[in-house]
Symmetry: C2
Subunit: 233 residues, 2 copies
C-alpha cells in the first residue's frame, strides 16, 4: 500500500504538495476518481478520492478517516549529528520504523559536524513513516547547543545520558521504566566530555550504559530507541 | 585505538595482509620498532612490534596476547539480501557492533536480489569488528537457497522464523530464552511465502513477531539481533 502525506484538510478537501502530486500523477499515473490512501503524520489515516488533477497539483476528497492509537509513552532522543551525515540519516529512518516521537540534534563539545540540512532530514522521516505504515511523523527539532538544551525544562519523566567507560553505570534495559516518557542523550564520536556529563547530571539526567561494545553514535541512538520500545511492549 | 587484523601467526611472527600493511605503512606512517594493536577475529587481541617493513608488507612480532571472553550463546541470522545492497551492508555493520556470530544470506521465493559480493561484505564485517573493538569476526556464509538451508541440520537450540500478518505470533522478546543459541530467519521485501513458512515450521522453526510496525528486511534483522543480545545481558 502506498501512502500519500497531507498536511491540511479544508471542508473535507486535501491538496497533495507538489512532490506528492507529481509522484501520484506522473509516476503512479493516478486519474480523477481513483482512490488514495493518505496519512497526516498527526495520527490519522484517510481514504480519499481524486477530484482534480494538474501536472503539479492533486486535490483529494476525504471519504473516511481512521486513527492510529498510540500505545507508547513519548520518546525523545537528543543526538549529536554524525560527521558522516548518512549515519544520522539512517538513524532517523530506523528510529522512525522502530518508534520515536521527537529527535533533537545537539551540538556538543566534540561534535565534528556543526550543520545539518533539516529539509533533507525531514524527507527521510516522512518516507520512513509512510514506508512503515505509521500515522505519526516524528518531530525533528532544530540543531541546538548541548548546554542550552540541557538547561531547558523537559517534561519527560525519565531523563538519561548514555556514555562509555564507566563500569558503575547500569544498562538502560534495567533502568528504563515501562509506561513513562523518556528523554535520552546520545553523544558524538568521541563521546560527551566529563563536563557535559556533569552538567547533565546536575540537571537531573541519569547516566546509563548501552553495553560493553564500543558503539557508533547512530548505533547507540538506535539501540536506546529499540530498548525503550521493547520495554514498552 | 586502531586495530590491525591478522590471520596467521607463525613462531610469534604475523604478517599484515596487503591492505592492512598499506594502511599501516603508507597512511599511518608506522616504522620498524613501532607497536601495533592486533586482532585475529578468533577471539584474541595482541600487542605486537613491527620488525620488517616494505611498501606492501609488514611483519610484526607478537609480544602479548589477550583473550576476549564470549558471554553470549551463538546467534545465527539467515537473512534475504535486500534489493538495495546498502541495506544489507548496514545490517552487517550494525549486527557486528551489537553482537552476532554467523550470517547466512538466503535466496527466497520473493528475493529480488539473487547475487551478492561476499568479498565486499567481508570487508564491512572486518571493519565493523575492528571499529567496535571486538575480537570475533562474524562468519559470513555463502548465499544459499531457502529450502536447501531450512532442511539442513541446525545445532541451535532455538529456531525462529519472523514474519508478518499473523496476530497469533508471540513477540521474539517474549519467547527467546536466555543462554540458548539461536537461529533466526528474516525474509525479503514482501516477506516469506506461506509455503516457505510452512516448510520452516515442518523443520522445527517457530514463528515469531517483531511487533506491529512494517519493518524493512534489514531493520527486522537488526531488531532480532538486538533482542537476542538484550535477552542475554
Amino acid at each position: 500500500m502506498h501512502l500519500f502525506h497531507i498536511s491540511d484538510i479544508n471542508d473535507n478537501i486535501a491538496q497533495l504538495n507538489i512532490e506528492e502530486a507529481r509522484h501520484c500523477v506522473q509516476v503512479l499515473r493516478k486519474r480523477v476518481g481513483d482512490s488514495l490512501d493518505l496519512v497526516d503524520g498527526q495520527g490519522f489515516f484517510y481514504k480519499g478520492e481524486i477530484i482534480e488533477i494538474s501536472r503539479k497539483s492533486c486535490l483529494v476528497r476525504i471519504l473516511s478517516k481512521k486513527e492510529q492509537l498510540k500505545h507508547n509513552p513519548d520518546l525523545k532522543i537528543a543526538i549529536a549529528p554524525t560527521k558522516n551525515i548518512d549515519r544520522l540519516e539512517w538513524f532517523l529512518e530506523k528510529a522512525t520504523e522502530i518508534g520515536i516521537d521527537e529527535i533533537v540534534p545537539i551540538l556538543c563539545t566534540r561534535s565534528e559536524r556543526k550543520r545539518i540540512r533539516e529539509d533533507r532530514l525531514q524527507k527521510i522521516l516522512l518516507s520512513a513513516m509512510k514506508q512503515s505504515l505509521k500515522a505519526y511523523l516524528p518531530v525533528l527539532h532544530e540543531l541546538v547547543d548541548f548546554k542550552t538544551f540541557i538547561q531547558e525544562d523537559h517534561p519527560e519523566k525519565q531523563k538519561f545520558i548514555a556514555y562509555c567507560n564507566d563500569d558503575q553505570l547500569l544498562h538502560l534495559k534495567n533502568v528504563c521504566k515501562k509506561g513513562e516518557s523518556c528523554l535520552i542523550l546520545i553523544g558524538p564520536e568521541g563521546d560527551f566530555t566529563p563536563e557535559e556529563i556533569a552538567i547533565a547530571k546536575e540537571n537531573g539526567f541519569r547516566g546509563i550504559s548501552l553495553g560493553e561494545s564500543r558503539l557508533r553514535t547512530e548505533t547507540a541512538g538506535l539501540l536506546s530507541c529499540t530498548i525503550f520500545n521493547l520495554v514498552n511492549i
